[in-house]
């Protein structure tokens, strides 16, 4: 993947597949340039065995073929910059869900640039307008956030977050937060 935001787009779709009603995506960069990416969902969760196997490219839940590259590629991106990928998951009746934390050293020459994160967030929302997405991107200099539950409260039930006009608004809303700080 050429951009970390493409990994995020790809991997967050696993949360959609897990039947999540809420997906939190956060990027936090500290003063030393360490970036922590967290993707947390309230989906069905994975068994311990599945968690052990998900970063193996030859493991997949798909039945059409024998490879699954999403998480292995994210793990590679994290590790090649000097970070790591940690996944925890629960299938508990009440606390079910999955949390993955990938860390990156943004100062490493092998760090994959984040790229067009706004585009990835918009596409995730358009693909699953009924899910609550909470997105935050924080550095020591600025803080960007979006919560689709708040937008849905304004739009009501009959206007979908996937509508092109709404998508344009979300994209510009995020863009403004990035440039104005």
């Amino acid at each position: 993947m050429k951009e970390l935001s493409l990994n995020i787009l790809d991997v967050a779709k696993n949360s959609v597949t897990a039947g999540a009603s809420k997906i939190e995506i956060s990027l936090v960069t500290d003063a030393e340039g360490m970036l922590a990416l967290t993707i947390k969902d309230d989906g069905c969760g994975m068994s311990e065995e599945t968690v052990r196997n998900v970063t193996n490219p030859f493991y997949t839940t798909r039945t059409t073929r024998k490879v699954g590259m999403g998480l292995p590629l994210l793990k590679l991106a994290a590790e090649q910059s000097g970070g790591e990928l940690v996944i925890s998951s629960s299938r508990d009746e009440i606390t079910h869900g999955t949390e993955l934390i990938a860390t990156f050293n943004t100062k490493s020459i092998d760090f994959t640039p984040v790229g067009d994160i706004i585009s990835s967030v918009c596409i995730l929302i358009a693909g699953s307008p009924e899910i609550d997405f909470v997105f935050t991107d924080v550095t020591p200099e600025r803080s960007v956030s979006l919560n689709t539950a708040e937008l849905r409260a304004v739009l009501g039930d009959d206007i979908s977050l996937a509508e092109p006009e709404v998508q344009t608004w979300i994209s510009e809303y995020l863009k403004e937060q990035y440039v104005s700080q």
Binding site: M1, L9, D10, A126
Partner: protein, 122 residues
């Protein structure tokens, strides 16, 4: 600054449209957005379709949706176009530029862009 009030205005505007939308959105543009598609460049292709369809004033007629792996990863980015009463058209190895051309010629002009279809590369 973008405000929630502006979003409420979009809502007002769109609610008026809902009534005249009966029978609309009969054409679907489906973009493969699994790992294979994303890695091959499906994100800019999807964005190009959304932008160009909007520019061409086709939002009422055409919806853009996402799907998982279609099963022909070597031809990604892959886009399928479903039109009512017509056979499905599968476009392969797309770019944002090709997407704009497809919106202009196929979705607006009604003529399939044969050179980008799967039939012409196989």
């Amino acid at each position: 600054m973008k405000s929630l009030a502006e979003l409420a205005a979009i809502r007002e505007k769109m609610q008026n449209k809902v009534n005249i939308r009966e029978g609309a959105n009969s054409t679907r543009v489906v973009v493969g957005m699994a790992t294979c598609g994303i890695a091959a460049g499906a994100r800019p292709v999807l964005n190009a379709f959304v932008e160009e369809i909007s520019k061409a004033g086709l939002n009422e007629k055409v919806t853009v949706t996402q799907t998982g792996c279609i099963g022909i990863c070597q031809y990604e980015p892959v886009v399928e176009i479903f039109e009512e009463g017509k056979d499905k058209v599968t476009y392969v190895k797309l770019t944002a530029e090709k997407a704009a051309e497809i919106v202009e010629k196929h979705l607006k002009g009604g003529k399939v862009v044969d050179e980008y279809t799967i039939g012409s590369v196989q």
